[in-house]
Structures are given as structure tokens and as C-alpha cells.
């Protein structure tokens, strides 16, 4: 099952990340996972939050460019080789990963990772076939 990531365009300016985070915090939106991809002049903030729709509306109203991206959250064993075992399956099945990052907190005793796949639907079929458990939207909201 896919979950929703919010992507936000950010210029490389002092305090800009703080402004996004405090805006979300002030409105009682909790960030579950976060990563920033940066270039020399701009960055893209990628976050998973508990209230996606509210967060995007809030960001857009505050003048940010923000949109939704389908991602998949996967639990992997929190032990040496845990991530490798999942990546091996992707590699063997030609599943391309655009980027990935980790969750702030743990859902269980496993590590929780966000994957942005080139083809999310195809990736999900492969995941299901190999019985790799994905985290649902409901679970994210309840984290």
C-alpha cells in the first residue's frame, strides 16, 4: 500500500527549513520521516506527516510549492544485512529506486524506510510476492 509523501521546494536560504517545520508544528502536524535533497541553489524537502492533506493545504496557503508523491514505507529487520536483504530482491526483480530515507521513529522492533520507486505499482507487486510487509496509511497516521 502506498503512502503519501509531501515534497516541498526550498531555496537554499537560511532558516527556510525551520520555517516549514515550525509552520507544521504550530498547526499540530507531526513529521514522521524527513529528508532533504539539495543542489547548489535549491533543495527539495520530502516529508511524511500524520495529516498529509492538511499539511499541503497549509504549506500552499503559506506560499510554498508543495505536492504529493506516492511512496512506499517498508519495514526491514534492524540488524546487519536487514536492508541488504530487501535491496537484493529489488535488484533481482528490476525494481528501480529513485531515492529512499529512514523514519524518525520505529513502528516496531524493525526499522522503517521510505522508498520512492520509479514504478510504485510494480514495486508493490514484487513486495507482495516476497511477503515484505509495508506500512499502511492508517498506521502512519497513528504513529
Amino acid at each position: 500500500m502506498k503512502i503519501t509523501q509531501i515534497s516541498v521546494f526550498l531555496e537554499n536560504r537560511k532558516g527556510r527549513l525551520y520555517e516549514v517545520c515550525s509552520l507544521l508544528g504550530d498547526n499540530d502536524i507531526n513529521i514522521r520521516a524527513l529528508t532533504v535533497a539539495e543542489t547548489e541553489s535549491f533543495g527539495v524537502l520530502r516529508i511524511v506527516v500524520d495529516k498529509s492533506d492538511a499539511a499541503v493545504t497549509l504549506l500552499r496557503d503559506s506560499g510554498f510549492v508543495a505536492n504529493f508523491t506516492d511512496v512506499v514505507a517498508i519495514e526491514v529487520g534492524d540488524r546487519p544485512g536487514g536492508l541488504a536483504s530487501v535491496l537484493k530482491i529489488f535488484a533481482a526483480n528490476d525494481v528501480n529506486i529513485e531515492y529512499m530515507y529512514g523514519f524518525v521513529e520505529k513502528h516496531s522492533d524493525k526499522a522503517l524506510l521510505v522508498f520512492r520507486f520509479e514504478d510504485a505499482d510494480f514495486a508493490q507487486q514484487v513486495l507482495a510476492k516476497h511477503s515484505i510487509s509495508v506500512v499502511t496509511r492508517k498506521e502512519i497516521e497513528g504513529l
Binding site: Q5, S7, F9, L10, E11, A37, T39, S41, F42, V44, R46, R60, G63, F64, V65, A66, N67, T69, E98, Y99, R116
Partner: protein
């Protein structure tokens, strides 16, 4: 020396007779050979026979850059294409470039006015000139070339760019005159110093700088760096290219060759003539051109004019350095840049036009830098950096293709570009000109 003393130093009355004679021939020639102008003259209620003296010029309609664009490519030509010997193009405001064509006589005229220009700057027949204006579709290089050829100078046609080679040639041949853009002169001086070459060493006497606006402070900087007299040349491809007006050694205004390029200074709003000394838009009529003669061409350059005789002996009127523009054109490294060109590119890429801003800057002794800021919008925003970089590169390449100037494109957040009265401020010029 004065190349054409009989006209350059002629009494005003003699000059007016000459100008009247030219105009009396020009109007019927255009009327009978150029349907677009025929229509324009008829619309203005001017019969070709009614133009009897230069004072009648005020009754004639203006010609604008839009006319050139609307009738691209050949609509404003008066000579048939088989008589056109050479064409040049410069960038237009949108879409079509501005095309100009020269007959054999026009090329001779260009050589003549450029020889006058070189002499006015102080060139002597045994001088060597390094022409570091671009050769090609741009009129700078070839215009200087024809003038130097006419005068019999020794020509080193380096064209622009390849700075290390330019400096090597300077050291080996020790030319006394250089022609290039003022910013390139400063850039070359700086490069020379970095290579351990003293630009002041050499036989330099005169620099003839133009194709972009520059101030007296830049003049002093160039004169100091190169140990030469820095003079200003004015021209535009629509009229002929370089060779419309030139400063003499007194550097007190640019002598406009008014026997062939008749100047008027008008209020750009009303079209009425302003008094000598007052700022207004320079309007030029090409009195003797054949290929694409223009009547009352609106240059959009703001200048003032002085009709007093100069200490050098020339009676030709003098225009001031360009004080501004009536439109939003800027000149970057000798190339005309209109915001509308960039708008055109952005619309082409994105379907609608995002907010943008052009920032022009010049680091000390460096060439002009152009940065185009484009506000990111949701419809082309992507969570993937590679897509955003691809978009930025596409915008950059397409703008560069249209402008022929290297630019940097920076994606910025929405609403970060300053808006004045609801419209974005399209150009920020940070250069000290």
C-alpha cells in the same frame, strides 16, 4: 585628420541643402520601391513630391522596431534582393530577428562612415588596428573592418574571444588602435595582468569602444589600465551598424554623421521635437541608404544633442552618451537583450509564463553575468532533483539559443520575485556602467 572635411566641417546652411537634396530623392525612391512605406506615407497623407526640404521630415511617419519585425524579412527593403550584397541580423524583441541588407553602395557608405569614425577617434593612415568586435552576423567586426580597409589601416581581425591569443597578438604586433566592447577591454586588461603582461606596455593610442552603454568612470578605468585614449562609438544595425556617431579626441559628445544619418531628438510620448540640450529619444533617417532605408527610425535610445561647432573643427551635431532607453532593452556583452525574448522561451517550455526576473551583474573586471530567476510552480515542480535540473537546463539552453549570451538559470520559490504594481520587476541591473 578629418576623413570627409567638406561635409564634416560644412556650414550648417550647406549641410541643410545637402540633407534636403538627399531627402528629396529618398522619399520618391522609397515610395516607388517599398509597398509597406508607400502605404505608410499615404496613411500619413504625404505625397512623395511634396517633400522638398529637410524641414519636411517632421511630416513623415515614424518607423519602429515593430515595423521591422512585422515586415520580416524583406518588407521594408526598397532594393530588390538581387542587389543586396550582404545581410546582418540582430536579435529582435520576440520571435523574428531584425534583418538588415546592404547594397554595394550601402557597403561603400558603411566603409566611408566607419573611416570617418576611425579618423574622428584619431586614427592615422599608417596605424594598425586590432578589431576585437565579433565578426559575423553582428555588425561590429565587419563594420570596423570596412572602415579600416577604406582608410588603408593595417588590420588585425582577431574578432572577439580567445583572450590569450588576443594578448599574444597585441604583444607581437603592437597595434595602436583597438576596437571592442568596453567590458571586454577591462576583462582583457585583467587577464593580461594575471598572465604577467602589463597592458600599459605597447604602442597603444586609441580605443574605440561601443555596442554597450558605458560611463565616464569605466572610461577612466580603461584609459588607466591600457594607457590609451578611450573613445565612444555609436551605431545600430538598423541604421548601418557602427559608424553612426563617434567621439573625437575632445570626448565631448559623439559626432553624428548627419549628412547621411539625419538625427532628431523627440519626446517619446508626444513625438514632438525637444530643444538642443534636452533629453529625448534619438530618431534617425538614413538619407542615402538603398537596401533598407529607414524614415525616422525610433532608436529608443535617450540622448541629448548639441549643434555647436566642436573644437576639433567638425560642425556635425554631437549626441551625448546614451542616457537610457525608452523600452526595457538591456545590452549584455554587446548583445541586445529584451525581457520579451525570455518570456517567449518560458511560454514555449511551460505553456504559460511563470514569473521570472533577469539579474545582470558585472564583477570588477569581469564580463557581464546574466542570471534568470524563475519561480517554481506546482505544475512543473517535481520531488525529483533530476527533473528540476533537467527543466533548469532546458530553460538555460533555450534562452542561450535565442539570446546568444550565456546565462545562469536559478529556480526560486514562488512570490520571491519582487512585484511592483502587480507586475514583476523584470530586470535588475546591478552593473556599474
Amino acid at each position: 585628420m578629418i576623413w570627409k572635411e567638406d561635409v564634416e566641417c560644412a556650414d550648417r546652411a550647406v549641410l541643410q541643402v545637402l540633407q534636403s537634396d538627399h531627402l528629396k530623392k529618398l522619399i520618391p525612391y522609397i515610395y516607388h520601391n517599398c509597398p509597406v512605406y508607400k502605404q505608410k506615407l499615404e496613411d500619413a497623407g504625404v505625397s512623395p513630391d511634396s517633400v522638398q526640404s529637410i524641414d519636411d521630415i517632421k511630416r513623415l511617419p515614424f518607423t519602429t522596431k515593430e515595423d521591422m519585425r512585422d515586415h520580416y524579412p524583406y518588407g521594408l527593403f526598397s532594393a530588390p534582393q538581387d542587389q543586396i550584397n550582404e545581410i546582418h541580423v540582430s536579435s529582435g524583441t520576440t520571435g523574428n530577428p531584425t534583418l538588415v541588407g546592404y547594397t554595394r553602395d550601402d557597403l561603400a557608405l558603411w566603409g566611408d562612415v566607419m573611416a570617418r569614425t576611425l579618423c574622428c577617434a584619431g586614427a592615422e593612415p599608417d596605424d594598425t588596428i586590432q578589431i576585437a568586435y565579433g565578426y559575423g552576423l553582428f555588425t561590429g567586426g565587419l563594420g570596423f573592418h570596412y572602415g579600416a580597409l577604406e582608410m588603408g589601416l593595417r588590420i588585425i581581425p582577431t574578432s572577439s574571444g580567445q583572450t590569450a591569443r588576443q594578448l599574444k597578438i597585441m604583444q607581437d604586433f603592437k597595434p595602436r588602435i583597438i576596437g571592442c566592447t568596453p567590458s571586454y577591454a577591462l576583462y582583457m586588461a585583467e587577464e593580461a595582468k594575471e598572465m604577467g603582461i602589463d597592458p600599459r606596455e605597447g604602442n597603444w593610442r586609441i580605443g574605440i569602444f561601443g555596442a554597450e552603454p558605458w560611463s565616464d568612470s569605466i572610461r577612466h578605468e580603461i584609459e588607466d589600465a591600457w594607457n590609451m585614449l578611450a573613445t565612444d562609438v555609436y551605431g545600430l544595425s538598423e541604421i548601418i551598424g557602427p559608424g553612426v556617431a563617434q567621439e573625437c579626441q575632445h570626448k565631448d559628445g559623439l559626432h553624428i554623421f548627419s549628412d547621411v544619418f539625419f538625427p532628431e531628438i523627440i519626446d517619446p510620448e508626444t513625438g514632438e521635437e525637444v530643444a538642443p540640450g534636452e533629453d529625448g529619444e534619438l530618431v534617425i533617417t538614413t538619407l542615402t541608404k538603398q537596401g533598407i532605408p529607414l524614415i525616422r527610425y525610433r532608436t529608443r535610445d535617450i540622448v541629448s544633442i548639441s549643434c555647436e561647432k566642436c573644437r576639433c573643427g567638425r560642425t556635425s551635431p554631437r549626441i551625448s552618451k546614451i542616457k537610457g532607453r525608452t523600452d526595457d532593452m538591456i545590452v549584455v556583452r554587446g548583445i541586445n537583450v529584451f525581457p520579451s525574448q525570455i518570456e517567449h522561451v518560458l511560454v514555449g517550455i511551460e505553456g504559460t509564463q511563470p514569473h521570472y526576473q533577469i539579474v545582470v551583474d558585472r564583477q570588477a573586471h569581469k564580463l557581464d553575468q546574466v542570471e534568470v530567476l524563475v519561480e517554481v510552480e506546482e505544475r512543473f515542480f517535481s520531488d525529483e532533483i533530476k527533473h528540476l535540473n533537467e527543466l533548469r537546463d532546458t530553460i538555460r539552453k533555450e534562452i542561450q539559443a535565442v539570446l546568444s549570451v550565456g546565462v545562469k538559470v536559478t529556480l526560486v520559490e514562488p512570490k520571491t520575485i519582487e512585484r511592483s504594481m502587480g507586475k514583476s520587476k523584470r530586470i535588475v541591473d546591478k552593473r556599474t556602467l
